[in-house]
């Protein structure tokens, strides 16, 4: 189940981060932040091996779920990027994105 969803900028700061309100929010922030280690590693490996660059899903980042979920999230993120009033790099404040994240958290809970 999805308990926390985050979008991270390429400079590694969070553009959007939301977790199930009942749980310890800070813990999730730390978890998301530490998983960036793996992202860094995977991305640098990608540069070397020139694997299929169109495949954006990096897989599981933390040794502890779902590709479809990633696609959905990524599409929603793309929509935000297409918004002419959104400035790339700003923190995300979007109702549509919130709703989508909510539905993803609800769906599985």
């Amino acid at each position: 189940m999805a308990v926390c969803i985050a979008v991270i900028a390429k400079e590694n700061y969070p553009l959007y981060i939301r977790s199930v309100p009942t749980e310890n929010e800070l813990k999730f922030h730390y978890t998301v932040h530490t998983s960036l280690d793996v992202v860094d590693e995977k991305i640098s490996a990608m540069g070397k091996a020139m694997v299929d660059q169109r495949e954006l899903y990096l897989g599981l980042l933390y040794p502890t779920e779902d590709y479809k979920m990633f696609r959905k999230l990524h599409n929603s993120y793309t929509d935000i990027m297409c918004n002419p009033f959104y400035n790339p790099g700003d923190r995300i404040h979007s109702r549509a994105f919130d709703n989508m994240v909510n539905s993803m958290m609800m769906q599985v809970c």
């Binding site: 900028a9 400079e11 590694n12 700061y13 969070p14 981060i17 929010e25 800070l26 922030h29 730390y30 932040h33 530490t34 960036l36 280690d37 793996v38 590693e41 933390y62 040794p63 002419p84 009033f85 400035n87 790339p88 790099g89 700003d90």
Partner: protein, 921 residues
């Protein structure tokens, strides 16, 4: 029945374990592994109950350890990991007695730690681990369970201090040791699931709880965390490492070792700051603030407060408000209120420390470098222009903005420059009473209102020595508090900005968002860009420099460039100096081939410089005009850049201050140099036929053709032919082009008759040189005549065996006798046999020898005489003479044609007597 089965099952486990252990002794590890696995499965088939749970887990733990160890030994780490996961999944929920839940957590922690050790051991023996699968995760998990143990222990073991340890000790056994691992000492040998003696059971649990109280949990946790840190460091997980260090710091904080806690937290803080994880940073800062409060570390306390009040902090406003009030208290040399959720005893101890600090005099000034974090006061310095003229005051603004919830006063703002002389002009200070600080008036000039940008404008006059230099703001100091209380200097290196401002500036620059309109005197913080340095440039010159000349320049002439300097200054321009010549930085060859002089009357030589620096011109009164001719000699064609630079000194007043400014104006001009004329040289025979070689001793003509290429009229003063020793002239050499004026495209030709004596070498013979003295017909100033020397081409001289010269009148007349005499001259020192024949022509009758053979002695000549009788008028072909030399078959008639005429003009017969007939016609 059931009872016996149970015992039997117990024995199965025991049996398998023994076989496995025996196999291990035999070094039959494969069989050992097989039997351990069977034993492990049998353990979990046992009926578990609260009374035997501990024993089952203990046994499962032992066997699991053996299995994992053998798997690593067989180099099948994935099997080990799979076994361990299965083990954890099976045992995770087997908590056993709820009153002893900490025991389960301790056991879980131990399982992870043991597996971590095994994993690490295997790596030391050559196994390779990866980033997502390394011992660190197991140590981390072990630490997690250790933390859980601590929490459970604090919940379950908080007995009143009146509770005493039971006597007799239920944990004591008769033998001092347990019969079997994992059994309760007070329940040894009992296989029944029922509790036979509830009272005894209670005492046993109590004694275990009381024992747990004495365990130093934090120490265990920290050890496990530091093990994990070491592993993650190895497997390139910097963020995981930071996270664990935060946990370590927090654990030290719980263990009341605040100094160590602060050290760890301070170390990792910057990583979270640089990556912009504000929630995490705020959490770390909050813990750090507590630590610094409890240790009464004033400087750290202020630093963390500054950042917690800043824009990166995610604290609620009420929290920020509380922190700000505390900060103000500290600035007034009072003790701050304790931080929330701190240990009561520790707070008491720290209050004592704070009151000591307050009473202690001295060391009350703290300088805090704020560039590296995100303080609640933002600062940006901006020079109004990237450069200032020295006669204009330098102006810059300091923008300040506070992000804290309440307005804050400061006592002083001062700016330092790379030239410290300016520091004194850029200070804002306001003396205020000690009591004023709490009175949060937003009126004063020295008050920062949250969310509003304050602008301070400074102005100073730059020193004349700094012309051409950069003035840089090296630091901005904002002083909070006062000397009497506590003084905190916020120091920004350079022109302000902090750890987050560059990213913010980048985002602001990318943004297309339209900003709301603000009143005139306010600015958008994001749109402000730091400009921490400016250039001091010289005063704008108020003189004009004009150049008058007639381009292009002609090669080697003294080209005149008239420089006109006119002063438009209000006062006297003193010490005017002129620098003129070739602009430096061009091709080095140009420097060699360009000379500049002030004296145009003499031709300059190569020793003259290409640039004349600092020619003193004297003073220039207002409105005065001065002309200065400069002469330039360009030795080669092509474009050159010339620089004319005029500098002078002048007194001006800036802001009531008199300064002596140095001004200068420069002009550059590109002058093209061209050849004044092209000279073409031709050798022709006396018949004006082109010669590619000349014949020894036979006269030939040298023709020169001067074609003017200059756009200006040229005067050829004179020309001169200087022959080399091997050439002689046939007649007087004199110039035919003296004082000839050539317009563009016009040409002047001369012709000289020369003779070349025989030479021994077969190569070319130097002819000599042709010297043209010339000048512009209308120079700007009187200039000397230029002598251009043209080296004449070499000529190939060839000897011929026989020279034939014809002696005949310049024209003939129809039916009138035309005598022709041919001189045959032997040029060799051999006797020549010559066959002479005359071919008849239609236009002539002739008398004389038609064919003859004669012999000519060396150096002598023979004459052959003919009498031609022209029959037709016009330009007629003469009967052609053929000569055949028996010794020199190469001597052809073709060659002969060069020397003797082939045609002659024949005039018609005069008709003086028949004038009437013309009239009739």
């Amino acid at each position: 029945m059931m009872y016996a089965g149970c015992v039997l099952q117990l024995l199965f486990v025991r049996h398998q374990f023994k076989i496995a252990f025996f196999s291990e002794l035999k070094q039959d590890t494969q069989n050992a592994l097989k039997n351990y696995r069977t034993a492990y499965n049998l353990v979990h088939e046992l009926r578990a109950h609260e009374t035997n749970m501990l024993e089952i887990k203990t046994m499962a733990g032992f066997i699991n350890y053996k299995i994992c160890r053998l798997c690593f030994q067989h180099n099948t780490p994935l099997d080990a990991i799979a076994q361990f996961r299965k083990h954890i999944d099976l045992c995770k929920k087997k908590i056993g007695s709820a009153e002893l839940a900490f025991e389960h957590a301790a056991w879980m922690s131990k399982q992870f730690q043991a597996f971590g050790d095994l994993f690490d051991e295997a790596i030391k023996l050559g196994l390779t681990a990866i980033q997502t699968q390394n011992p660190g995760f197991y140590y981390q998990q072990a630490a997690y369970y250790a933390q859980e143990r601590k929490q459970l222990a604090s919940m379950l073991c908080n007995h009143d201090s009146s509770v005493v340890y039971p006597n007799p000790d239920p944990l004591e056994t008769q033998t001092g040791v347990l019969d079997f691992y994992g059994q309760r000492p007070w329940r040894q040998g009992t296989l029944s699931f029922d509790l036979s003696d509830p009272e005894k059971e209670k005492m046993g649990i109590l004694s275990l709880q009381l024992k747990e109280r004495n365990v130093l949990h934090s120490e265990l946790i920290i050890t496990l965390l530091s093990n994990a840190v070491a592993q993650f460091k190895k497997y390139k997980c910097p963020r995981m490492k930071s996270h664990l260090m935060v946990q370590m710091g927090e654990e030290y904080y719980f263990a009341k070792d605040y100094a160590k806690a602060l050290k760890l937290l301070d170390y990792v803080m910057c990583e979270y700051r640089s990556e912009g994880w504000w929630t995490l940073l705020t959490s770390i800062l909050t813990t750090a603030l507590k630590c610094s409060y409890l240790m009464a570390q004033i400087k750290d306390y202020i630093t963390y407060s500054l950042e917690l009040l800043g824009r990166a902090s995610t604290l609620k406003d009420d929290q920020k408000s509380r922190i700000e009030k505390n900060l103000i208290k500290v600035l007034m040399n009072e003790s701050p209120d304790p931080e929330p959720d701190c240990d009561a005893a520790a707070v008491k101890a720290s209050q004592k420390l704070w009151s000591d600090r307050v009473s202690l005099a001295g060391s009350n000034v703290f300088t805090i470098e704020v560039q590296d974090f995100i303080p609640f006061v933002q600062c940006k310095a901006k020079f109004l222009a990237p450069s200032f003229h020295v006669d204009v005051p330098v102006q810059f603004d300091i923008y300040l903005r506070a992000d804290c919830p309440h307005p804050i006063r400061f006592s002083k703002l001062c700016i330092s420059f790379n030239n410290q002389d300016y520091n004194q002009y850029c200070v804002v200070e306001e003396a205020y009473q000690k009591s004023d600080i709490l009175e949060q008036s937003s009126q004063g000039t020295m008050c920062l209102v949250p969310g509003k940008t304050r602008k301070f404008t400074f102005k100073f006059v730059a020193k004349t020595e700094d012309v051409g230099k950069k003035i840089e703001i090296t630091s901005v100091d904002l002083i909070l508090g006062s000397e009497s209380g506590r003084c905190v200097i916020l120091n920004w290196r350079g022109g302000g900005g902090d750890a987050a401002s560059s990213q913010e500036a980048l985002q602001a620059a990318r943004s297309f968002k339209r900003r709301p309109k603000l009143p005139d005197n306010e600015v958008h913080w994001d749109s402000l860009a730091i400009q921490a340095s400016t250039m001091i440039i010289s005063r704008v010159p108020n003189i004009s420099v004009q150049l008058r000349h007639e381009p292009p320049a002609l090669t080697n002439e003294m080209y005149c460039l008239v420089v006109t300097i006119e002063s438009h200054e209000e006062t006297v321009a003193k010490d005017v100096k002129l620098t003129a010549g070739l602009k430096p930085g061009q091709d080095a060859n140009l420097t060699q081939k360009t000379q500049v002089t002030l004296r145009g009357t003499d031709t300059c030589d190569d020793s003259f410089p290409a640039l004349l620096p600092d020619i003193p011109v004297g003073d220039l009164q207002p409105g005065e005009k001065l002309e200065k001719p400069i002469y330039i000699r360009c030795g080669t064609v092509g474009a050159r850049m010339f620089l004319v630079y005029v500098s002078y000194l002048i007194n001006t007043t800036v802001e009531g201050k008199e300064i002596l400014c140095k001004c200068h104006r420069d002009e550059t001009v590109t002058i093209e140099t061209v050849f004044p004329f092209d000279v073409a040289i031709k050798f022709v025979s006396t018949k004006l036929e082109h010669l590619d070689r000349v014949f020894a001793d036979i006269p030939f003509l040298l023709m020169t053709d001067i074609l003017s290429a200059s756009p200006w009229p040229l005067t050829i003063v004179t020309s001169q032919l200087q022959l080399s020793a091997s050439m002689t002239s046939v007649d007087q050499l004199e110039s035919y082009v003296e004082n000839v004026v050539l317009q563009t495209g016009e040409s002047a030709s001369e012709c000289f008759c020369l003779r070349c004596p025989p030479v021994t070498n077969s190569g070319g013979v130097a002819t000599g040189c042709y010297i043209i003295s010339w000048k512009r017909s209308s120079p700007v100033e009187s200039v000397p005549v230029v002598r251009t020397v043209i080296t004449l081409p070499h000529v190939i001289v060839e000897s011929i065996p026989l020279h034939v010269k014809a002696d005949l009148p310049s024209f003939g007349r129809v039916r009138e006798s035309l005598p022709v005499r041919y001189h045959l001259q032997n040029k060799t020192n051999l006797v020549q046999d010559v066959e002479v024949s005359m071919e008849p022509s239609d236009a002539f009758m002739f008398s004389g020898l038609k064919q003859i053979r004669l012999r000519i002695l060396p150096g002598t000549q023979q004459e052959v005489l003919y009498n031609f009788y022209p029959l037709m008028a016009g330009y007629q072909q003469l009967p052609s003479l053929h000569i055949n030399l028996l010794r020199f078959p190469n001597f052809t008639n073709q060659l002969l044609r060069r020397f003797i005429p082939t045609h002659i003009f024949v005039k018609p017969q005069g008709r003086q007597a028949d004038e009437n007939s013309i009239a009739a016609a």
